[in-house]
């Protein structure tokens, strides 16, 4: 399939905001896709593989910019200017392809296969000279692209095609294209996707074998299942009564502040995060613990928590967990993995058992936990070992009933006192429902932590406060994309409540001093004013370039003591999103 055909689909998708129309467009495309189906089903949402197979291209926006300039001959400053104006390097690339001026000796046509294969290949480049090879590869595609193609090649490289397609729409469109489009069909696709994390597989199965084929898809080693998620409990009592199973029992467990991971144990051991990233290479200490403590085949769900190495020797209650930020340095690390494994030692706290050669998803929790307990041999952490070995144990837990909240309350206190986040309450009779936030699984923790965010843009309010900058765009810091002295900011939401008139007047004065551009009632700001902001929750969102949106953000105060470098990071926002 020619890439231009896919670009036409992208353009049609982005031309409409109506979900129904997008669904119809996608359903047609999938139905007619033929052999291109497995590729299309991921490329339409800007991915290069199934959800659990997300190759790290190693092409930052500045490398992509370099490639665009190289391929089109456009001046860097001009492309950068278009990028700044539109906030989208893809649009800037389209402009560069049109106006760059560099001719080529010959052109090869871009096909979907070529773009897809080439970008997947980029992810395999490693070592000396790989930076140049990455730029060259992207430049090679852009050189053969017309302006629209250049736009989407670059957006795909950066991981966001910006056509408003997410997993839900793909699901609905697959149900329309290959099943009867009913709610039952949508639900079947959804649950197949939650256990396989693999739309190419689900799509082909739906096309070849219909509803029965889709329903037969099951958990399998090497393909992570979507994690079962917890809903929020308002209070311990409320949580206990809604988590209680038919027998009135409740399984209470520490809520850890670490990285939720799924362990796939076979001849090979693999570690996946909740976002389905393969972090096996980053946690060799966990792999070593699993080799000693669990015999495969097995799939386990649990949390990897970092601890202060000085506290890991003795009693579990005396261990001091390190803040997530410290642990997070391990997740994306490529060099010095063994060194940080010793510096930030971890314990894997197992709390669910999904597969033992056959699926356990439909078994009651209590049964899964019994099996887990007999399968798992606890391993003590040995951070000073050579090499370091992680700890491996069951999550700290207690059973109680709804009319006896004391054991739960005691466990909750103990969790908080030992530096953990709170409590998770589970129905012992419940099956494991991948990817779903369910009332049978509740978490209890103190309110969401506020974020320190920087104001990037503002608008004057309407009405009574019309002279005041009351509508503020807030951004966090993307450390991965930042260069020294030039932090990359990613917007996470708009703030318009929580301040008194006096506070807003003072804030307006500070912001007006930083205005760099005006457009009607909107102003662009030199970022520097940092605000403390609370919010209800964090949602996934295409509306902001961070990919997240704060729900109901409220102003708590101006943090005059904080600078740009103190602004909370995107990694932290992601973590809070995942831990809520």
């Amino acid at each position: 399939m020619e890439y231009t055909t896919l670009v036409a689909v992208y353009n049609r998708l982005s031309a409409t905001d109506a979900t129904g129309e997008k669904r119809a467009i996608l359903a047609d495309v999938f139905a007619d896709a033929g052999g291109a189906l497995p590729r299309l089903v991921v490329l339409v949402w800007g991915r290069l593989g199934p959800a659990y197979d997300r190759p790290e291209l190693g092409v930052s926006s500045s490398l992509a910019l370099e490639a665009v300039c190289r391929a089109t001959g456009a001046a860097k400053s001009a492309v950068r200017e278009r990028w700044r104006e539109t906030g989208d390097l893809g649009s800037a690339a389209a402009w560069a392809a049109e106006h760059g001026g560099q001719q080529t000796l010959f052109a090869e046509s871009l096909t979907v296969d070529r773009v897809h294969e080439r970008l997947r290949e980029v992810a395999t480049f490693a070592g000396e000279g790989s930076r140049t090879r990455r730029v060259d590869a992207v430049a090679g595609l852009v050189a053969d692209a017309d302006p629209d193609e250049a736009c989407y090649v670059v957006r795909t490289v950066l991981g966001h095609v910006r056509v408003g397609v997410g997993e839900g729409l793909i699901r609905d469109a697959l149900a329309d294209a290959f099943l009867d489009g009913s709610d039952a069909a949508v639900a079947a696709i959804e649950s197949a996707y939650q256990v396989t994390s693999d739309y190419p597989l689900v799509a082909e199965r739906a096309r070849e074998a219909g509803l029965d084929g889709v329903q037969a898809l099951d958990i399998s080693l090497g393909r992570p299942v979507r994690a079962m998620l917890a809903a929020k409990a308002a209070s311990l009592d409320a949580g206990l009564s809604s988590a209680a199973g038919p027998d009135d029992r409740i399984h209470c467990e520490y809520k850890y502040d670490g990285v939720r991971v799924q362990l796939h144990v076979d001849d090979e051991i693999r570690v996946f995060t909740r976002r389905l990233a393969d972090v096996t290479a980053q946690f060799p200490d966990v792999v070593r613990a699993v080799e000693r403590g669990i015999e495969g085949p097995a799939i386990l769900d649990g949390e990897v928590v970092g601890y202060d190495p000085a506290t890991l020797g003795g009693d579990a209650a005396a261990r001091a967990p390190v803040p997530f930020q410290e642990l997070s340095t391990r997740v994306k690390r490529e060099r010095g993995v063994e060194r940080v494994a010793a510096e930030v030692p971890v314990v894997f706290h197992a709390f669910d058992y999904l597969y033992n050669g056959a699926t356990l998803l439909d078994r009651p929790l209590a049964d899964r936990l019994d099996r887990l307990e007999s399968r798992l041999t606890p391993i003590s952490p040995r951070p000073a070992g050579d090499p370091a070995v992680a700890g491996l144990e069951l999550a700290t837990a207690a059973r109680t009933s709804a009319d006896d909240p004391d054991p739960a309350a005691a466990l909750y206190r103990a969790a908080l006192e030992t530096g953990h986040e709170g409590l998770v309450l589970k129905d012992p009779t419940a099956p494991y429902t991948p990817g779903r936030r369910v009332g049978r699984l509740l978490k209890l923790k103190p309110t969401m932590e506020p974020l320190d965010l920087v104001v990037t843009r503002a608008k004057y309010s309407e009405g009574r406060r019309s002279g005041l900058l009351g509508r503020l765009s807030l951004a966090c810091r993307d450390e991965a994309a930042s260069e020294a002295g030039d932090p990359a900011l990613r917007e996470v939401g708009r703030l318009s409540t929580g301040y008194t008139d006096d506070e807003l007047a003072a804030l307006t004065d500070r912001l007006e001093a930083r205005v760099v551009a005006r457009d009607g009632r909107a102003v662009d700001l030199q970022p520097g004013v940092v605000l403390e902001v609370e919010y209800e929750e964090i949602q996934r969102s295409d509306a902001y370039d961070s990919g997240y949106a704060l729900r109901f953000p409220r102003f708590l105060g101006t943090r005059a003591d904080l600078g740009l470098a103190d602004v909370d990071t995107l990694a932290r926002v992601e973590h809070l999103y995942e831990s809520q």
Binding site: G73, G101, Q102, Q103, T104, L105, E108, V142
Partner: protein
């Protein structure tokens, strides 16, 4: 089968002319000499090189193809003094290239030629002007242009019979006019094209200052630069796509 002995300087000149455009290339080990053809990733610049068997002290090949990482090979070749002889031998079994010089031996892992981009066909161009100039003259023009701009304009004034190298910067301009007397030869015709200095600078680096460079130029068309090395037994042709002249 491939086994050859070449002077380090000839080998170095050959590799340099290709490595300015690509990091990896295929080398065709023909019976009558080596041939390399490669295009840069953005399809803007191309190099076509051949080095006859006669340029080697000894040469024996039967038409195979190898893929090499040019930076590696250049690094190794740079270990030799200019008049040293470099002995190259392909191990068909291991697909490695054994390189020996003055007591030093090196085994270079080769790249699967199929993983390297296919060699392009040479576009058929009808270029109206031909300028023959010394490498040093071209180099002066390129260096001066680079001081003021990213682009360089090459043109021939058919009436004045002159070759003009021009660059316009935001504030400063550069002009180099070479009349028929300054040139080795000139076949005048209407020709006027703009090029990216990024590429031309790199190509210029590979051209020796005493080389005789034949420039074939057209009207908003790719340029061909041709020169010889290795006592005339090596030939390089560069081709560079133009930029659109915006004004």
């Amino acid at each position: 089968m491939f086994e050859a002995i070449a002077s380090a300087s000839t080998l170095g000149d050959a590799l340099d002319s290709v490595s300015v455009l690509v990091d990896e290339c295929k080398i065709r080990l023909n019976e009558d000499g080596l041939a390399i053809r490669a295009v840069d990733p953005a399809n803007v610049g191309m190099v076509d090189l051949d080095l006859e068997a006669g340029a080697f002290e000894s040469y024996d090949a039967d038409g195979g193809v190898i893929g090499v990482n040019l930076a590696r090979l250049e690094d190794i070749a740079s270990m030799a003094n200019a008049d040293d002889l470099v002995h190259l031998e392909l191990d068909e079994e291991t697909r490695k290239l054994h390189i020996q010089m003055d007591g030093l031996s090196y085994t270079l892992a080769l790249i699967d030629p199929d993983s390297i981009r296919q060699e392009p066909d040479i576009p058929d161009l009808d270029l109206s002007a031909e300028i023959v100039v010394e490498g040093a003259q071209l180099s002066r023009g390129v260096t001066a242009a680079d001081m003021v701009s990213d682009h360089i304009r090459l043109r021939v004034d058919p009436d004045d019979e002159a070759f003009l190298v021009e660059a316009q910067g935001d504030t400063d301009d550069v002009d180099l006019e070479l009349s028929r007397e300054d040139l080795i030869d000139l076949k005048a015709g209407g020709a006027d094209s703009l090029f990216s200095l990024d590429y031309l600078k790199d190509m210029n680096k590979a051209i020796a200052s005493d080389a005789e460079v034949t420039i074939e130029l057209g009207e908003e068309f790719p340029v061909k630069l041709h020169y010889g090395f290795g006592e005339g037994l090596g030939n390089v042709t560069y081709m560079l796509a133009p930029r659109i002249q915006s004004d």
